[in-house]
Symmetry: C2
């Protein structure tokens, strides 16, 4: 433990960066339920998954026992281009709030993709390249994941076909251009380049597309093009594994200064950032070594943890993906399009769902305008324009710091600042103009989509 003053930003040296990812499933007494084949209802094994995903990634997906996976040197070199990411002591925020709490945030936005997504993108692209594949396909909505993957594929010389939800393709031309700069081919979805796309276009002429539809197109191209596989940026166990680099760095940086957090806060859409941030802390908690308060923050407009059901469901609205057991609002649940802050997934990572179900973490839902209020406050005080997604965590961190002011408790709060909001300024503009709405689904709406959950056993 060092006695020197904690700097504004704690950077690990390159030697101190993690050399292995941590698999939290290894320490879970109750493992996450397996993926099921929607046709047969049977658990999916290696052979069932490798036509879609790279072999090594399927191994990682299915392995509930190995605690550490070595990070290949090539990936560690790539990480060094934008990592270690800083763990920031929010001195300015603490002072502004006049709170006795000590606030830290792990900032993952200092790279061109603007978010933590790059941590898994490079890993998935690497294993595809190692397997001798020529390319990968994926879908993207707002474009963070597509950007991250295009950067990784450019670095490794791998082809990339991105299916981008059509309305985003048209409304976010800048994201599309970043991907093109990195050499990716970007197709608005639904498109006439796939059978499923043509079918959807026939059924719904003029549709603006959806993530579920883009997934279906990407999977079709991956499975029908020799030398291709499909990759996904969240939800899956493998993604959480790669994202554990966030939590491992955070823990190492805190330990350098002898700091032990009381509370860890992260936003949750599919769970990739939250799962990565909390992984090593959750490991200690699971092993009974230390207790932490762990809080998932989700939007009130898409509240899978706080109002969903723990059950098997499709991961995609198109119902082509395997069934996963998770907290879900039902795959037919459509988050209100007014919701600008991402985190719009109807379900949640199986691993995090199991941990939540078993009482190892809690969840809070926050409303959109409260989130943007926190985002703007944070930007002015800490200088970073946060992504709307990340701002869900900021909201709860600020709320908790204010509570500490009231109670006088000197809690140490760590939250994940997953990315920057440079491409989300249309949402900020709505907020500034007072045009932003808060949408909260009714009980009936949620009950209706939950009623459509697939029957398993």
């Amino acid at each position: 433990m060092s006695t020197e003053k904690i700097p504004y930003k704690i950077y690990l040296t390159e030697d101190e960066m993690p050399r292995a990812w941590y698999n939290v499933r290894a320490d879970m007494k109750v493992k996450p339920a397996p993926l099921l084949n929607p046709g047969t209802g049977k658990p999916m094994g290696f052979e069932d998954l490798t036509p879609v995903f790279c072999d090594e990634l399927v191994r990682q997906e299915l392995d509930n026992d190995t605690a550490f996976f070595e990070i290949p040197e090539h990936i560690r070199d790539f990480y060094k281009m934008y990592r270690p990411s800083p763990l920031v002591r929010a001195y300015c925020l603490e002072e502004k709030l006049q709170t006795p709490a000590k606030i830290y945030y792990k900032f993952e936005g200092n790279n061109t993709s603007g978010s933590h997504k790059l941590n898994s993108a490079i890993a998935q692209a690497y294993y595809a390249k190692e397997q001798g594949l020529t390319g990968v396909t994926t879908e993207t909505g707002a474009g963070q994941w597509g950007t991250a993957l295009s950067m990784a594929c450019a670095y490794l010389g791998l082809d990339l076909k991105v299916f981008m939800v059509k309305c985003s393709y048209e409304q976010k031309p800048f994201r599309r251009e970043v991907m093109r700069t990195y050499g990716a081919s970007v197709t608005p979805s639904p498109s006439d380049t796939t059978a499923v796309g043509r079918r959807i276009l026939e059924q719904f002429p003029g549709t603006a597309g959806s993530l579920g539809c883009a997934i279906s197109e990407a999977v079709e191209v991956a499975t029908s093009t020799p030398g291709y596989r499909y990759v996904l940026g969240s939800v899956l166990n493998q993604v959480l594994l790669h994202q554990s680099v966030i939590g491992l760095e955070t823990k190492a940086a805190l330990e350098k200064y002898g700091v032990v957090p009381d509370m860890i806060i992260g936003c949750a859409g599919g769970g990739s950032n939250l799962g990565g941030l909390i992984a090593p802390f959750m490991g200690e908690k699971l092993r009974g070594e230390r207790d932490y308060q762990i809080i998932a923050v989700e939007p009130k407009s898409c509240p899978s943890f706080t109002r969903g059901t723990f059950a098997y469901d499709f991961c995609d609205t198109g119902m082509v993906c395997p069934l996963a057991k998770m907290y879900t609002l039902g795959s037919s649940f459509m988050p209100n399009p007014d919701h600008a802050g991402g985190l719009r997934f109807h379900g949640m990572s199986s691993t995090l769902s199991q941990l939540y179900h078993d009482g190892y973490m809690e969840a809070r839902a926050v409303s959109q305008t409260d989130v943007f209020e926190a985002a703007e406050y944070f930007a002015r005080v800490e200088g970073i324009l946060p992504a709307p997604e990340s701002s869900h965590a900021i909201r709860v961190a600020i709320d908790e710091a204010i509570k500490c002011k009231e109670t006088g408790e000197e809690k140490t709060i760590v939250f994940g600042l997953t990315g920057t909001g440079y491409f989300d300024l249309v949402a900020y503009e709505k907020f500034h103009n007072g045009e932003m709405k808060n949408y909260i689904p009714s009980d009936e709406e949620i009950a209706a989509s939950v009623a459509k959950l697939p029957k398993v056993e």
Copy 2:
């Protein structure tokens, strides 16, 4: 000198960050010529300048003798929110180019303004606040400077009125929204809120505005509003002084690993980034302690160094500002609007102009498509999407590294990566679509605007 492997990114510790700015003028044998009053032709003194600029900034502007100015603690604390910026060893670029050259770049883009502009914005806002002022005014074109200043003013609780060139205001709504997020008032220029704006609107109905016009409006409001002053993001001596933090950090980071550069490359518009980057190296050169090859890179479309005249000229197209002696294309020179890469200023910092005139640095002009080609290449290899301005320096750094490959020389090249291109994707799109043009002014065009230079003695 350390013998350990040089990391991908060299970060100074907060203790190693500069505590004083370095004023290169103190070491110049021939000082930069003074600003002249355009009416009287007489040098402008303290009293002439304080109605427009803050007192302390005028002192810094006029002081050609003091070598070091202590950085106030409050500014150093703000710097710690986004500095030290990394000095990156471009291992991936070196490998891709197969060059024996060792390439480093100082990356100033890891902050929400996306550029180095914040280094001077916080200093100027700080001295305004110290003087008890309530607000400042400025102009902005593309918006980097306006964003930086809005961040600084938000931090210090200072009002800010930004006049944004009308066509940028309309075409770059995202930049405008970032400034609004930080609480700035942003007015499209020309506007009907100033006398000069109304006059221009009457003369040129429907005009898209210009930087010169926005300056005139900002100065009018600053000088006519009690408790206000005007601030400027480049060209001035004071700005180069603040930006010396870039060069001081770069030099300290290199010295940590015993590295001495052969060549230092920076892009040059008004000169703020280049002047800051080279300052301490130029100081050694001026004192005869060490020699460096120093290269300014400018666009062929606006070639003040390489094709301009060293003479007194107006700093603004509106001819309301003082006269400065500099390399200039004439204040009536209009850079082609097709040029997307910034660096569109007709003149150049007086300090850099004098140094260039006296043979202490050289200059190269590069064409726009060559710049974007380098930008895209760099993005794919080093992972950072560079600003078009910064990419001028990348172009020459790559050219020099390729020369080293041919000659086998192991030169150490340092260049300034001033910022990110997240808000420049319209230009990238033009490049991808093959719609980008290279504009090179004719000799007649330059001669015509140089012929209109003001007569001084």
